[in-house]
Structures are given as structure tokens and as C-alpha cells.
Symmetry: C2
Subunit: 369 residues, 2 copies
């Protein structure tokens, strides 16, 4: 039996192919693997029509973005293609419907990165409650002194130019038992507080499990509510709310764990912000478009929102410059899924998906179309 | 019946008395509360011999440190004193044995801050696995660009002068699926890794619960092993090791959660460091004296230790200047217990302890001598 032909388009400038893995070596023995170095769209189309006119699968790497993603090439994929698999989660750049019409399965990596993304949500949660980013910065920029790093405790405001908290005038006489603030924002414990999750899919469940472990109670909203048996199977108690607007007045921490879609644009907007509980924290590890950042900054300034933790932003890869020196904002460069473990597992999942379709006539482990 | 007399010595420069709490107002109705402003040791001794020669309790605030702690005054406490209570945990500054000889109960706040301290251990754990402190710094100092903040991925070393990772020469061609490093240190997921706890008291148990929730397996060592029924009651699986040296070769994360004592000085030393698993993370929220920091820095440099998260240091309130610009070290200014919630609960516990002894003839809720 001849081996199935698998095409892996790569680009010399950007390629996340984990061809060092033992699993990849084995994959190369099982299949007839062709690694094609992309140059121009014309050349790639020509190659699809000629030397790749009998491929059974495409392993889509992020290199394809250099030529505008996969969509410009779907029409030129030969009829022999059964599966397109890629080593990440979001599939905005793939026209799954069009692929399905052509009988092609589109497969992502399913839940593989959920734990890593949830860890970042947890990290941002703890950082927004405890002001650790500011306190680490204060210690690093101090004269190597814990006492000096604590000088801003009890402060009421941030310097609008430098972003630094303005230390209380009467540093000597401050009483932290009465007033534990930085820039007027309180340092609170997440324990015994209420977390509200927007989205309770694979990532949301992992987040909720973590927030439960730090003593928070869990409320959530979700487009499709969990079935009673699904809710019962959760390893934590969770209370369902039928809408975002009904949920948010009740939470001390709002965690946005939804993918980008028409219905999740600007969840935080000029109307919904009025429903928030005073002193709420917000964490976003879903999609940056879920928050109107102008409104968020106003709410941080007027004290409605205590602090916010963001791994995603409205206008990536750029971020709003106003976030850069604010210490009531914790910012990370969209690294939710960035671990050695996830990058390995993602590539292994691509292999498993292609094998399932080509060797076992299966639907792949994580089809998305 | 006359009210019991309670003395609260305070100092105008440093006082953490939460006299704004409703519980404190009630306390003032129940007892004959005397708030004494400290000046000199002589004056305080004189006051103890005269106007306070019939007090039943001392509420020790941190103000006492201004006069060298409570110990210089124990001999002058009148025989009527039944309890000394203070709103924090560590009691190195109190001679509990001497107080006991005089029939005086010494009471701390027990487990009150355990969750908050455990949250900081969790935060430091996540930060050491994911390099979030560096990545936040990189984003804050970038031209508001996520791409730019990611430039150091794949880097092999840190600049010894600036502490910044030296970006890989061939930035364009790096492959994060093959090599996800910052300064030669890998960014790993804590999930499916082994955590080793030194100390499994109240704080250790709270930490272990959190590490279990992020998918780590738990091993521990402890002076007195848990009884089988205690181990069974834990909400996570935990494997006991009879010594520090036996534990550490097996762990990817070492968490030090022991108080300062003779037996916990320099646990990490020139001999034990050789037993560590390559690429281990270390988190210390116990006492800074548990780590020989010179040895730690060497182990960070030679790659034995991937990264370390410290809330406590060898020579507090100063910290080693070499930590200030290292990004494989996450540093916080000893804020484990710093939350509004804990400072409130700590003061309420002092009230409960004094009430238990004076009103109910009890041993206090959390005696330590």
C-alpha cells in the first residue's frame, strides 16, 4: 500500500514545526511527508495543481499567514485532500464551512492548551487582587529594600504622568490595618469572593477549578447552559446566569473566557459597565475585542474597576499605550498557550488528527467544521 | 462586676490597630481598654508598675518593636496578666516559655493568613513557570507591541550588566515549537509536574491544594509526618518523604513553607543543591534564612535552577542587590499576609483570643506557648 501524501507548507521566516519530536520522525515513516517552502502565492497554487495534486492532508503551520492564511488556497486543494490540521485553537483564518462543502475535515488541537491558558487567568487574578506587579516593580526599583518597596501602601492616587502611586504624605503614621491601598485601590483576598465566568467551555472549566481552589465561589454565563448532568459532573459548585448583564452585578471578579465572535464584541461597554459591582476585578484571556478599552480605562479611573489583568487586547499586536505605566492594569503579551508542553502537545495532536482521518477513517480527535 | 482591664501599647509612628472595626467598638464596651502611647522603655515600665498594675491582658501591636519587642517588659508585667495576644503569626519576638512560666498565655492568629500566603506561593509558582514578570516588563518597556515583547523568545542568555535576555541573533527564523526559552530558561507548564513541599502545616496544606488544582502531583516532607487519618483527610494525594534530602531529587518545583528555626537554616546549601533535579523551580514564602542566596544564585547561573520566586529573603528588610534585575528571579516585598481581609481577621482573632481567656477561662483560640 502506498503511503498517504501529507503536505506541510512552511516559510523560512516563520515556522513553528516541531520536527525534532520523536513523534514527528515516526510520522515521517508512516506518511509520505512533503515540506514545501513557501515563496509566492502563485508558486504555491502551481505546486498544488502539479506535484501536490494527490495529497491526502495539509498540516497547516502558522507560516501560511505569510500568504494570507489558507483561505486563498482552498479552491486549489486537490479533491484527494481529506483533512487540514493545524497546531493551535482559533480558526478564524480558516473557512471551515467552505472546507466542509469540499468534504474536508478541519481539525484544531481541541482542549490541549486549556490548562496553560487557565493558569494565566489564575496568575492575572492573583496579580489583580494582590498588586504583585506593582510591588515587584517597587522592590526592583528600590534601594534593595523591602521597607522602601512598601512605602506606597496607604496611597490614594497614581501620578498621572509617571503612573507611580503617590506615597501618603504622612508615611510614618499610616495604619495598614485600617487602610491597605495602593493608589487608592484596596489589596483584597480573593477567598470568599465571587468569580463570574463568561464562557464555561474547556478553558472556562479549568479556570473555575482554579478559582474554586483559591476559595472563590463560581457563577457563570454561557451561550448554551450546561445540562444538569454536566453541571453535576463539575468538580466545583457553579451557578448559572442566563445573560452577561444578569451575571455581572454579583461578581467581585469577572473572567472573560470566550472566543472572538459577533456576540462577544464589547461585552464591557458604556452600558454594561454601569452594572458592575464597585471595586470589581476583570481578567481577560479570551479575545481583546470583548472589552471597549476606553470604557475600561474610565472605569479604572473612577474606581468602579479596582484592577484588570489582560493577556489579550483590542488592537493586537499593538496595545493601548495608556496601559504601559498603569499599575492597576496587569499586562501580558498574549502568552496564554506559550509553554514547551503545549507546543509539543499541539504538534502531537496534529499528528493524531491526521492519523485518525487517514489511517482510521475517523473524524479526527478535534474537528472544528 | 468590674470590667477586665486590657492594655494596648501603641506608637504614633507605627501602629496597625484596627480600631475602626465594629468588633473593636464592641470590645471597648466589654473591656476596660487602655491605649497607651509608647515613649521610652523607662516610661513604659513605670506605667506597668503603676497605672497598669492590674491589667488582665496585653494586646501587643507591632508598635512594641520600637522598644525592642515585648521581651524586655515580661518581668514587669503584673501578676494579674492572663494573656498576651498579637495580630500576626510569627512569635520569634516573644519569649513564650518565659510567659508560660508566669502563667501567661501567648496567642497568635493561628491559621488566619494561610490562604493569603498560599495565594502568594501560587502566584510565584505560576510566575516562575511562565516568566510572566519578565514578559510583563518586556511589554511595558516595548513600543506598546506584543510582537516586540516576544522578541526574546528563543534567547540563550541574559546580559550580565542589564539583566535583559539577549535576543537570538536570527530573530526571524526562530522556531518556538522547538525552543521556547528566555535567557536559556524554558517556559514550562506546571501541569503534570511534581511539587515538593517542605512543611505541610496550615499554609503548606493550602499551597498543596492550589498546586493540585493546577495539575501538579504533591510530595512533601515534614518534621512530624501526618497521621494516616490526617493524610487521608487531605483533599489531594500527597506522598511523604522522611527528609529534605530524600525529597528534593524528585521535584520540579520546591516550595519552602517552614517557619524560621535552627533546623530550617540554609536548607538550600552547597551540598543539598547538588541533589536538585536539573531545571527545578524554587518558591520560598516561609523564611528567607532557609536559602543560602549565594548558592542559589550560582545554581541559577549554571542552569540547575530554572527560576525562583521569593517573598522572603535572607537579610530582610534588605534584599541582595543581585536579585534586582534578574528575570529568572521573581521578587515580592514579603507581602504574603497583606490583604484587607487578613488584617481585619487578624484583629478580630486578637479580640476572640482575649475574650476566650478572660470571659470563658479558655486557652484562647490559638495559643502558641
Amino acid at each position: 500500500m502506498t503511503k498517504h501524501k501529507v503536505l506541510i507548507p512552511i516559510h523560512p521566516d516563520k515556522c513553528d514545526l516541531a520536527d525534532h519530536l520523536p513523534e514527528f520522525k515516526k510520522f515521517q515513516q508512516t506518511f509520505d511527508v512533503h515540506i514545501e517552502v513557501l515563496t509566492t502565492s502563485e508558486n504555491f497554487i502551481h505546486a498544488l495543481k502539479t506535484k501536490y495534486n494527490d495529497i491526502a492532508a495539509v498540516w497547516a503551520t502558522s507560516s501560511l499567514y505569510k500568504l494570507g492564511g489558507l483561505n486563498p488556497f482552498i479552491d486549489y486543494l486537490p479533491d484527494t485532500v481529506k483533512v487540514v490540521a493545524f497546531p493551535w485553537v482559533g480558526h478564524n483564518a480558516f473557512d471551515g464551512k467552505k472546507l466542509k462543502e469540499r468534504g474536508i475535515i478541519l481539525a484544531n488541537i481541541g482542549d490541549s492548551p486549556s490548562k496553560d491558558v487557565a493558569d494565566i487567568a489564575l496568575l492575572l487574578t492573583l496579580a489583580t487582587f494582590r498588586y504583585s506587579s506593582y510591588l515587584e516593580h517597587a522592590l526592583r526599583t528600590s534601594d534593595a529594600s523591602i521597607s522602601e518597596a512598601r512605602d506606597s501602601f496607604g496611597s490614594d492616587s497614581f501620578d498621572p504622568k509617571t503612573g507611580e502611586p503617590i506615597p501618603p504624605e504622612d508615611i510614618k503614621h499610616k495604619n495598614l490595618a485600617k487602610k491597605l491601598t495602593i493608589g487608592g485601590k484596596t489589596l483584597d483576598s480573593p477567598a470568599n469572593k465571587v468569580a463570574g465566568l463568561v464562557g464555561l467551555g474547556s478553558i472556562g472549566k479549568e479556570i473555575a477549578k482554579r478559582l474554586d481552589a483559591i476559595g472563590m465561589s463560581i457563577k457563570y454565563t454561557k451561550r448554551t447552559p450546561l445540562k444538569p448532568e454536566e453541571e453535576e459532573a463539575l468538580p466545583f459548585k457553579a451557578e448559572f446566569y442566563s445573560s452577561f448583564e444578569e451575571l455581572i452585578p454579583h461578581v467581585d471578579l469577572l473572567v472573560i473566557a470566550v472566543p472572538h465572535s459577533e456576540s462577544t464584541i464589547n461585552l464591557i461597554n458604556k452600558d454594561s459597565v454601569k452594572l458592575l459591582k464597585k471595586n470589581v476585578r476583570i481578567v481577560n484571556i479570551g479575545r481583546g475585542t470583548a472589552i471597549d478599552e476606553d470604557i475600561l480605562l474610565e472605569a479604572l479611573d473612577d474606581g468602579t474597576v479596582n484592577s484588570v489583568g489582560l493577556d489579550v487586547f483590542q488592537n493586537e499586536p499593538k496595545i493601548d499605550k495608556r496601559f504601559l505605566n498603569r499599575w492597576d492594569v496587569v499586562i501580558l503579551p498574549h502568552i496564554g498557550s506559550f509553554t514547551v508542553d503545549n507546543f509539543r502537545d499541539a504538534n502531537i495532536r496534529v499528528i493524531e488528527n491526521i492519523e485518525d482521518v487517514l489511517l482510521h477513517d475517523g473524524p479526527s480527535l478535534s474537528p472544528v467544521n
